[in-house]
Amino acid sequence: MKTVFDKLYDEYHQDLFQFIFYMVKDKQLTEDLVQEVYIKVLKSYSSFKGESSEKTWLFSIARHVTFDYFRSLKRRKKSVLDFFDWSESGESIMDENILPEAVAIQNDEMRRIYHIIDRCSVDQKSVLILRFIQSFSIKETAEILNCSVSKVKTTQHRALKTLRKHLSELDLKEGIE
């Protein structure tokens, strides 16, 4: 088990950590979820048949783990704060002002995008992170999300549209226009 872990850690750990971090934006939580990913991966490594690359397989498991987290979060919010509207916006509470310590973003536009990405659906957010922050190809992203290449293109298009819309709204709100 140690050998498999070493190999996966050496090759993918920082990428994996970064992907999950940008999905959940909490370092402690990222550590927990990364741990869950390793457990699942190590348990099922023997059944990995190499139909996709090891990297996309690992990230598809990471995607499942983070999706599960979001679903549980959604449930918790629903039961505790029933008045909160989770259906349209993203899955985590937007905090427009606070940046985690780990994220040193000086540029205003980037800070706004960092926050507004949470307005996207989980699928849209995954596509944006995988494609542009993690630099996966469309094909690799499709493998990770287990969907077609055209679905990734559509989701990417919708995600950018969502960001555009919310950035414009923010501009109006702040009177920048």
């Binding site: 750990h13 920082q14 550590e31 039961s79 540029n107």
Partner: protein
């Protein structure tokens, strides 16, 4: 338009320049945490293994006495053998006509079937053989149905199962034997999250009181989510709207990542499409924005160990008319009357149901009927999925 493109380019550029996030935890610490967590899981499994001889005895007796389960759980080798057993009661027979079962092979249900193996199994069914059904049709009286739920091996999905039980026992008695029922058919591969949990259903109040064992814990958000999904799958079909938790008389339970709760609302929401794993139809949760056309097209894809329920050569155009969903076959090859088609129809019916459709019409299939399904008229969406018959 150009403006939009420029704006998108700016956004993409900003995303590409987001700072790198690195984990500063030393590798050996990460490994220690992972391996320690895995060991804990093994310890928990080890404990349950001690009970195996006892359950083994119970299982042997049960196997001798129990009415055959209608869910086909046979392996590839036994599928081709003519060993079907007919359901015994008239009421059950109405529901499960032509369904077969092989009790000797129940324990093989959770074998590591590969997509290839499942596909091979689909292919081996010949015209005229009894079909295996994975859904319960609409019933006038559903009082003898109880609903169970199990996680898949990778803890990703909740798989609903439906037990057709006698009305001699109360609903509470049946629900409190669920673990035993599910275990008897070899469906419990991982630790059962609801182990030693007791249920008290008050249907008139739409409440289920759930008594958790003393040392009940949830280790991860995945387990917490799974638990809630299982409870919803089990009780929402009975009209239950609220779960109240108690533990040794104390109210308010620590459900790990969910927090400390006294009660939770239960509701099945969202859309699903259905794929197959080890003879079971598995509902896959879909994003709210996924339309029915996309959901059905996606059923042509294998997803890891989940097997497609629509063959690649089968294409449809899809239209809605009120509560009816209409699928017009546009594929070029002639469709065959085989198990694969039965599974496809049932998976589509269940998917349509999750989108709120009441009937599904299959047009231009050039087959008048497949098994119990008359393709010349709209088919009602089913009552439930993955049926198991028991006494």
């Amino acid at each position: 338009m150009n403006n939009e493109k420029q704006h998108d380019e700016k956004i993409v550029e900003a995303l590409k320049n987001m700072p790198n996030i690195t984990d500063e935890t030393p590798k050996n610490i990460v490994y220690q945490r992972v391996s320690s967590n895995m060991s804990n899981e093994r310890v928990r499994k080890g404990k349950s293994l001690k009970l195996l001889p006892f359950f083994g005895t119970i299982l042997t007796v049960a196997l001798l006495l129990v009415i055959p389960f209608i869910l086909d759980t046979t392996s590839y080798e036994t599928t081709v053998e003519d060993n079907a057993m007919e359901a015994k009661t008239e009421e059950d027979a109405e529901v499960i006509t032509e369904l077969e079962s092989d009790m000797n092979n129940k324990s093989s249900i959770m074998q590591e079937n590969t997509p290839e193996r499942e596909e091979a199994e689909q292919e081996i069914m010949m015209d005229g053989e009894a079909f295996k059904y994975s859904v319960v049709p609409q019933l006038d009286n559903d009082s003898n149905l109880i609903y169970g739920a199990i996680p898949d091996e990778q803890f990703q999905y909740v798989i609903p199962i439906t037990l057709l039980v006698s009305e001699d026992r109360s609903m509470n008695e049946h629900y409190n034997k669920l673990e035993q029922y599910i275990s008897e058919v070899g469906l419990l591969k991982t630790d059962y999250l609801l182990k030693d949990v007791t249920f008290m259903i008050e249907q008139e109040e739409n409440v289920v009181t759930i008594k958790l064992p003393e040392k009940f814990t949830l280790d991860s958000s995945a387990q917490a989510y799974m638990l809630l999904e299982m409870l919803e799958t089990m009780f929402v079909p009975l009209g239950i709207k609220k779960a109240v938790f108690i533990s040794d008389g104390e109210e308010a339970i620590d459900l790990g990542p969910i927090g400390i709760v006294e009660e939770l609302p239960l509701q099945v929401e969202g859309k699903f499409n259905y794929k197959k794993h080890n003879q079971l139809l598995v509902p896959i949760p879909l994003e709210e924005e996924v339309i029915i056309d996309e959901a059905i097209i996606d059923m042509k894809n294998n997803d890891g160990y989940l097997v497609q329920t629509i063959p690649e050569h089968v294409d449809f155009t899809i239209e809605s008319a009120g509560d009816n969903l209409m699928l017009t076959y546009t594929g070029e090859t002639n469709l065959s009357v085989n198990q694969q088609m039965v599974t496809m129809i049932e998976a589509i019916l269940m998917t349509a149901k999750s989108y709120g459709y009441v009937k599904v019409e299959f047009i231009d299939m050039n087959i008048p009927s497949i098994g119990n399904y008359n393709l010349n008229e709209p088919i009602d969406v089913p009552e439930a999925v993955n049926p198991i018959l028991r006494d």
